[in-house]
Symmetry: C2
Subunit: 115 residues, 2 copies
DNA sequence: TACTGGTACTCAGTAACACTAGGTAAAGGA
DNA sequence: TCCTTTACCTAGTGTTACTGAGTACCAGTA
């Protein structure tokens, strides 16, 4: 049994973050939605489900950040394998830059207002 | 002139974060909306304006996280000074716990999927 | 008095995102 | 044939930051 901390709702804090996480996963290796859900769950985002991930993938496709390819599977229906392209790499870099920005400023506020 | 980096829209990454930042500022010292806006701007969140902060303060009041007191000002209309109470301290602690959680998992995803 | 500018608060409407709760469908095994 | 696992999709909901406009108080000045 894994170490489980009762964690409140993370929804708001995940806004914008999950898209970055998905892009990072895709940058490492092209893969498909169902697998990404399991990767996120395995990374600790236990409550993230398909209804969250598929819209993200559609969004990335619409923005032109990924290439899509239908691949037949031995087990179950065909998979849509997503690959991060050049535009996606740029979007990912932008994400990390913005994350770093927010993260740093928040830390500053914490330190400057710590008693 | 300050070091300015062209930073894209932070809106989504700020979801949930600003409420935490406001609580942290209030924990340090009771203060009022207008001043909080300037504190956030000074901390680097340059685009955060009154239309963002005042709804947060109303929300915190509705949730019972803050106490409010009308204080006359020498300059301009009376101020609504907010004080973080016990419930607010708990909410702030919960915020930092969730922030740490998301931050850590995201870092893990970055490292595990770095090439 | 009238005007100006800085201070301080409010609120209706918008956009974006995670999430819920369903649904469809393909393949293999009992 | 039915069930499970795999794999994808989507309409609707709630929460949040943000925009833009408005109200109002006060001090100084002409």
């Amino acid at each position: 049994m894994a170490l489980e901390v009762k964690m409140d709702d993370l929804t708001e804090l995940l806004k914008g973050v999950l898209e970055g996480a998905v892009m990072q996963i895709l940058r490492h290796q092209p893969t498909y939605g169902y697998e990404i859900v399991r990767a996120l769950n395995g990374a600790g985002f236990a409550s993230v489900s398909e209804g969250t991930v598929y819209p993200i993938l559609l969004r990335l496709e619409k923005k032109g950040c990924v290439n899509v390819e239908q691949v037949r599977s031995e087990m179950g229906p065909p998979r849509k394998v997503y690959t991060l392209n050049a535009a996606g790499e740029a979007a990912l870099a932008s994400f990390w830059q913005r994350w770093e920005f927010v993260s740093t400023r928040l830390q500053t506020i914490k330190e400057d207002n710590n008693d």
